[in-house]
Structures are given as structure tokens and as C-alpha cells.
Symmetry: C2
Subunit: 528 residues, 2 copies
């Protein structure tokens, strides 16, 4: 471990995870590293969860507030949720145990734009940060930190927390050193200056994180892999979505609205994202760039083959095979990947300037182009908005993708009115399902509605949508965005009651009651 | 007029409004100047409307697509709407005749962020711009144009239109010359660079608009005032809202989260905005700045007294008395006001950097903080989103304000679920009514719900909201954002059916049926 912890002063603070976890007190606000299952602390949260369970068994509940970069893993969110040790969690999660506690009303969850977390913390909106637990890949002689496989909000956590626990994970490759770009130029207004980034491959910061050594109260060593996200090979629906999207890119190139190198890509993880990346590769593209949150297996492939000349992100999210590929060729990847803080990877100024092509999954869209990325039936949260709003709102083309149905046909991803809005009609440009692509740019609401019904809806639901829309065209109070309010959310209500949105329920035979579990997350939402 | 039209080549193209209007053909896409009733063309649209009416009378409908900066005036939107001469209109409107045509389904209306109009035009999303009609205050010897009382999208219209008609309005003060800052550095990605503005009072452009003289097909002279917006003195509800907001600012200053100079202010027009500005003046503030869309009477007052040291905007919206005050002291105001293009006044990069305090009106908010700025009962559009999304999404504090009821108590501005979402729960920080202020920062959905009910709802509706929320806490499918979907929009439905959202209808005796007209626009929405 001495090659990873080269600062002499830090050696004195080395202790076990249990000793470190004992520094965390009930009621504390604790900021942790971690983004899409990478770079999260692996030992202290589990030791903390054990303390919490013991405390609960002894009749004195032990709960804290937990802030992270984004989703973490069973060792953090899962363990603390099972111990019922969180009273508040932000900003993004994907852990089943945590989600269940949130949706049962036991944990307060703040679902916010990932680009907002750092500035809201600096502004004090979450109160004082008592303690940070941050995984790093190493500590230099001078005390600077080699960041791990994600950066997330770590710069902010290290600066804002009163006390810091460092987990030094020897499993993370030493070759990560030099792959990060930590920008120390952000500020609160009125002190903000232009952020001098004009291309995804530019470096504007330094390779290390800083921490005031006086704040470091514990150093814990670990040697454990990140949560490995299994690579999901594209299914037929995802491949169809990718074909529609690639057709669209080809069309934009022909019209001179996109160059052959496209614009910097943002893409989530999962089935659809993998299909889109594979299609780009097959489509003969090369020299592309990515300005995104997460590097997944598909992106490594594209970097290896030159389809992507580089990728800027804030985190990895790799399968075990992807981790091996990365480790085996880390010198190659180190010159082609930059990991930044999430306030920079998701910064509205930079996403707008670069003109990012924002490709995000969704749960459902309505006929006017409002998009729900977070809620099932208006009240249960799935994962969270993640960075989808940061990219969709400020990117040059905002694309939302989903299979047209889920739950064996019981859910339509095109509905009369979404049950929750995360992206408004003013921000959505392209809707894609395996049925087709609707280009909403330059269209008024009624034009959008007919196009979405015709192009994106599943044939099982298309007649029901057309019927709703036709009646709304006749009977709605107003004819700007025709709606039948008494019926607009009835599809979701029917799903909750019967397990299907369809009025002809025999088409769907759900294998379990709707309350027994949430529908699968559509393809490419972040951090599945 | 020769002192206003100093370029010799332009003299040859002088003609009557009727002759100029004859250059506009059915089906054309025509971009016009104008923003909140200032700087719009005053003669050509009326002459065009006369042609349209004659054509319709002769059995051959004459309709065009109309793009503007924002709202205009009866001479433009009113005249063309009455002539049924528009098939499409964007991006913001407030004309009663136009609104009626939109809500009857006769005109397609694209309601979009004002910051997006220029880039979407450059990207070709609205097709080719056949012709621009732009009011200016004068033409220099070298052909450069002195902008008028609004800038809006004029830079883009002059650059993108195939042909240009200039209206030179001698009523606009010659002293406007030098008050504008037209930035010619924007581009489409991947050519975008940082925009070098770091404070509201910085100049980054030039004082004049450019036009290719070869494109100017007509020069029309006018001598007419802008639509004068009558100054509305704050009523009691508006004054209460202002008191709550000033309390909040004071609280933020005490906590060290805002300086005594606050941060650059963005504010709409109308009753509430005037009340807030008056309260700032009475509150002893000085040396403030504004980075906003519109300079209204209240802002002139604040500049005169030094409460505001300067204001950056894209337009004026003054009463007749305000125009006189401005004209009488134009040399004073010219050094304290900058008018920019609306892509700069509303630019996400700049609003975020400056940390603008975004103060916007709303139609309704729901208990989770989703805000509806545009729709009545989900289907009728009021005015449009204007710049509220640009400022709320990127400003440092996003504030939405409304009286807690409208229509003589028949409408509650706090509802279980909004009937249309323009600003999501992820973007709303402060809700203010005359009842009180809810600070939603750092709160999870259920915390927000109780606070909004307690602080913002009118006592007439508070028990109904509490009852809905209490039952949702027990019966909702999920407990992250508890909702009863079958009931969530029932308040709006009841309003449409009975004229009141209340279940005890005798509290409200609407003076007219709900279909006979739209409710009054809440206070400070843009361009009333």
C-alpha cells in the first residue's frame, strides 16, 4: 500500500473501516464519492451499515443524510438502505433496496440535475457537510490525491466537508493517474468567469484533487472492484431504435446541418445506448468525440477502433470484461479519455457551447412531447433525472429514446399526458421508439401530436391514442394543446388498477401484480 | 426623414407601406421585429392585413408564417390575427385576437424559449426566412442600422432573411443611438466560443445592426409610438408578495448567501414586478444591476434614483409617461441602459455565470413545485413561456410569483397537479403568493408539498389541498411524490365545468361563464 499512500502524514491516519465508520454520528450529513457504480467507497459504508443495524437492534435508530455523485452500488446505497440508515439521499440512485425505501416514504429523496449539486452545496442549500467519504486511487507525496474511476462531486466534497475519510483502493489501476482533468476555476456568482473549454479534448484543469490534510481524519485501504455493470447486448427493439437514429443523423448530414464528425455525443448506458454506439461503428463514422457522463463498454470499443477519437466524462461504468480491457491497455486509453468533475461534464455553459447531441432514455413521452424520465404512474420514482436535463436542455439536439411498450405490452411509452414532467415540450426535439422517429423541431403542438402517434406509438396503442386525440380535437376546452383532463391520466390509473394501460386487457397477461415490482427501466437511462 | 436615412442607396428604395406589403406573398415565412410591444413594425403589417382581408373577401385566403422577438401590438399581431392571415406564429404573444385564433385551433403556435429562437432559425428548423420586416431608428451613411426600442431577434432576421423591409420610425428618439450592444460573436457548434461577458454593464459588441444592402427591398418611414403599456400600480396582493420576497432577500443577506448588492435582477412586467421594484427602492437597496429582458417604468425609476446602477435588457416596455421621462433624460439613461439581442439577454451561459435572480410570474404551481406558466386547464395557451425558462433554469435563484387565487376566488394558483408543466420540480426554488413564501431549496417532494400548502395556498383552498395530500399520503401508488391520479386534475376540470375550482361553489359567483374569456394573466408574466 505504500506505493499508493506516499504522503507520510497520511500513514498516521490509517485505520480500519470499522474505526473510520465510528467517526460518523447519527444525524450527520455525509457526502460520498461514487457515480454510476464507479469510484464509490467500498468499506466504510458497509461498516457504517453494520453499526446502524446494531443501533436499530438496540432501539436507537441511526440515520444520516447521504449525498453522492450519482448512483453507487450495493456496498453503499444497498447496505445503508437495508439498514434503514438514510433519512435523506441525493441526487441520483438506482439501487433496488434504496428505491423501495424511497417509494414506501421512508427516505426523503431529492431528485435534482447533476449539474446543480455542487453549486447548491456551495450555496449551503443542504446545510453543512459534516463529513466526506471519498475513494481515491492514491495519495501523492505532497498530499494531492489521484482520483479514482469516477470524479463526480469529489472536488466539492473535499472542499466543503468538515472532515474527510479517504478510501485508497488498490484495485483501481495506478495508471489512472493523469487521466483526470479537475477544474478549480468555478465559483459562486458574482465571481464566475467564462469556463475556457471549447472542445471535448481540451484540458482546463489539473490531474489531481486537493484536500486540506488537516481535515483528513481517516485513511482506509481497500482492494475491491467497482460494481461491474454487465454488458447487455442490444435486443431487437434497441437495434431498431439505433437504425432510426442513424437514419436521422444521415439525413442531417445530407442537409448540411451536421458534419461527418457529428457533434460531441452524450449517451446513457444500457441496451439502447449500446445499440446506438454499435450502429455508429457499423455506419462508418470515425473521428467522433463524446462529451458525456459515463464511459461504458461500447465507448471503449469505439475508442479502440477510432470511431471515437476521445471521450470526456466524469465516470466509468464497465463490465468486468471492460475493466480488463481498460486495464490491459490503459496507456492507450489514458490519452483518449478525460474524467472531469460532474459540474464540468454536465455544465450548461459547456454543453450549449459544444452543441452536444443529447441521447437519453425515457420512461414515457406524451403526444405533445413532454417527457417523463423519473416516475411510474406519477408517484413512484424509478432512478432520477440524472444528467438528462442538463444535456437535453442545453444540447444542440435533444433526443429521447424508449421501446414503445414495456411490461409485456402493459405499458405504452407514448401516452396522452405524462404522469410527471422532467423535460417540457419546450425542450424535446426528437422522440424515438422501435416504431420510428418523430422530429418535433419547428412543429406546433397539434403537428407534434399526430407525428408522435403515427411514428412512435406501438400499433397496440396507436388507435387508443388517435381516439383520445381526435376526441380532444373536438371536445377540449382549448385547441392549442387539446386535452381531455378527466381522461388524460386514466391510462396510468388503469395500469395501477389492472396491470395494463390497455382497455382490452387480455392482450396482456402480467406475470405479477403491478405492485409487486416496478417495470423494467427503459434502455438507456443513466446508471441502471 | 433625411437625418434618419443617411445612406443614399436606401433613398431609392423608399416606398409606401402598401407598396412594401405587396412584396409579401402568401405562404411566405416572414420574420418581424418587436419585443413586448416595442420596436415592432407599425405600417407594413397593417397594410399587409388589409391585403389579406381583401384576398379573403375575394375567396383566396392569404396566410403567412410569422416569427418575432416576443409579443408585439395590435398593429401587428392584432391586425394579422383579425385578418386570419397567420398560419404559424412564434415565439411569444399576448394579443387577445391572436390568442383566440390559437385557442380555437386556427393558428399553429410554437411556444419556445426565447433564447432558442435564433439558434433554431440558424439551424433551419423553421425553414427559409423569406423576408424580414424590421423597425429601426435610423440608417447611417455607411448602411449600418441604429436599432429601435427593442433588439430581440433582429440581428438574426437581418442575417437570415432573403429580403429585408426596413421601417424607419422617426418617433423613436435619435438618442437611442449608442444604447445598444449587438454581439456578432455567436455561431453554431462546433464553432462556438466563450461569450466574454462577466458583468451586466460590460459591452461586448457594437452599437449598430448590419444588413447586406443588396437584400433591402423596401424602406418605409413611420412616425408612431410603440404600444404603450399602462403602468399598473401595485395592488394589495402584489405588495404582500413583494414584502415576502424582500424579507427573503434580507434573510439571504443575513446568512451571507447574497451580498448587499444582491445579484443581477431579472423581472417581468406588470403589477407584481412593479411592487417588487418599488419595495427594493423602499428597502434601501442601491447600486443594484438588472440583467433582464425588459425595461419597464419601475426600472426607469430605480435607475433615476440610483437603486439600480444600470440595466441590461433587450427591450423597453414603457407607459406613455415612461416614454416621456426616457426621452427627456435620454443622455442620462443612455449610459445606464444596454439593449442586447435576445440570444444574449437570455443566454444560458450568461444567466448562469451572472447568477441572475430570476423573478417570474406563473399561472399555477402544484404542491411539488412544478410550475405552469402558459396554459389554462391544460389546453388553452395564455401568452407563452417567454424567457421564464431561460432565467429560471440557469439563474442562481428561481422565483415564481402569483396571487394565490384569481377569477374572484374561482381559481387557486396552488393545485394538486399542474395542468401543464413549463418549469419542473427540478428547477423551481421559491414560490411566493400574498399568503407567504415557500423556500423549496434542499427539500424533498413531501417536504415541499407541506410547505407550499402551509405558506402559499389561500385559506379557501388550503383545506382542500391538505385533504388531497393527506389522502395521497395514504393511498398513492408510490410515496415519493404521492398523487391520486384519478383526482389530480379534477380541480381544472371543475373549473371548466362550473367556473370555480372550489367544491363549495357558492363562494364564487363568476360574472361570466368560464368559456367567455380567459382569466386575467397573473401579475408579472412577460408582455401582458
Amino acid at each position: 500500500m505504500c506505493d499508493r499512500i506516499r504522503n507520510a502524514g497520511m500513514h498516521d491516519r490509517m485505520m480500519s473501516a470499522e474505526q473510520a465508520a465510528a467517526l460518523i454520528k447519527p444525524g450527520m450529513t455525509v457526502a460520498m464519492s461514487g457515480f454510476t457504480g464507479a469510484g464509490y467507497p467500498k468499506a466504510v459504508p458497509q461498516a457504517l451499515a453494520a453499526r446502524m443495524e446494531a443501533a436499530a437492534a438496540a432501539g436507537s435508530p441511526f440515520r444520516i443524510k447521504v449525498l453522492t455523485g450519482a448512483s453507487t452500488a450495493p456496498e453503499l446505497d444497498g447496505a445503508l438502505a437495508k439498514a434503514n440508515g438514510m433519512e435523506l439521499r441525493l441526487p441520483y440512485q438506482s439501487d433496488p433496496a434504496l428505491r423501495e425505501r424511497i417509494n414506501s416514504g421512508e427516505i426523503d429523496y431529492i431528485d435534482m440535475h447533476l449539474s446543480h449539486v455542487a453549486q447548491h452545496t456551495w450555496s449551503g442549500y443542504f446545510g453543512k457537510i459534516d463529513l466526506a467519504v471519498v475513494e481515491v486511487a492514491g495519495i501523492l507525496e505532497d498530499g494531492r490525491l489521484v482520483p479514482s474511476s469516477s470524479v463526480g462531486n469529489n472536488k466539492t466534497w473535499l472542499e466543503q466537508a468538515d472532515q474527510v475519510i479517504l478510501e485508497v483502493n488498490a484495485f483501481q489501476p495506478a495508471g489512472l493517474e493523469g487521466m483526470h482533468d479537475i477544474y478549480y476555476g468555478t465559483a459562486l456568482p458574482p465571481e464566475r468567469k467564462p469556463i475556457p473549454l471549447t472542445a471535448p479534448d481540451e484540458r482546463i484543469g489539473e490531474a489531481y484533487l486537493h484536500v486540506d490534510p488537516a481535515k483528513v481524519v481517516a485513511v482506509v485501504t481497500t482492494d475491491a472492484p467497482d460494481r461491474n455493470s454487465p454488458f447487455t447486448a442490444p435486443d431487437e427493439a434497441s437495434r431498431s431504435i439505433a437504425v432510426h437514429l442513424l437514419d436521422f443523423f444521415g439525413h442531417e448530414i445530407k442537409r448540411g446541418r451536421l458534419g461527418r464528425n457529428l457533434l460531441p455525443l452524450q449517451s446513457g448506458v444500457g441496451n439502447i445506448a449500446n445499440a446506438v454506439l454499435a450502429a455508429l461503428s457499423e455506419g462508418g463514422y470515425e473521428g467522433l468525440t463524446a462529451y458525456t457522463e459515463v464511459i461504458q463498454d461500447g465507448m471503449l470499443d469505439l475508442i479502440r477502433t477510432g470511431v471515437l477519437k476521445m471521450a470526456s466524462a466524469t465516470s466509468f461504468s464497465l463490465s468486468a470484461a471492460g475493466v480488463q480491457e481498460f486495464k490491459d491497455n490503459i496507456d492507450f486509453y489514458r490519452t483518449r479519455i478525460l474524467l472531469r468533475t460532474q459540474e464540468i461534464s454536465n455544465h450548461p455553459e459547456l454543453i450549449r457551447r459544444l452543441g452536444v447531441l443529447a441521447m437519453n432514455g425515457m420512461i414515457e413521452a406524451d403526444i405533445y412531447g413532454n417527457v417523463n424520465s423519473t416516475h411510474i404512474a406519477g408517484s413512484k420514482v424509478m432512478n432520477g433525472i440524472g444528467g438528462s436535463g442538463d444535456f437535453a436542455r442545453n444540447g444542440s439536439i435533444s433526443i429521447f429514446m424508449s421501446p414503445s411498450t414495456a411490461k409485456n405490452g402493459g405499458l405504452s411509452s407514448i401516452v396522452p399526458m405524462v404522469s410527471h414532467v422532467d423535460h417540457t415540450e419546450h425542450d424535446t426535439m426528437i422522440i424515438v421508439t422501435e416504431q420510428g422517429l418523430a422530429d418535433l423541431r419547428g412543429l406546433a403542438p397539434k403537428q407534434r401530436a399526430q407525428l408522435i402517434i403515427d411514428r412512435c406509438a406501438h400499433p397496440l396503442y396507436r388507435p387508443m391514442l388517435q381516439d383520445y386525440y381526435d376526441r380532444a380535437r373536438r371536445e377540449s376546452y382549448g385547441q392549442h394543446s387539446p386535452h381531455l383532463l378527466a381522461e388524460a391520466l386514466s391510462w396510468h390509473d388503469r395500469f395501477v388498477e389492472t396491470g395494463t394501460m390497455h382497455t382490452f386487457p387480455t392482450i396482456n397477461q402480467p406475470s405479477r401484480s403491478p405492485d409487486s415490482g416496478l417495470p423494467e427501466l427503459p434502455g438507456s437511462l443513466l446508471g441502471t
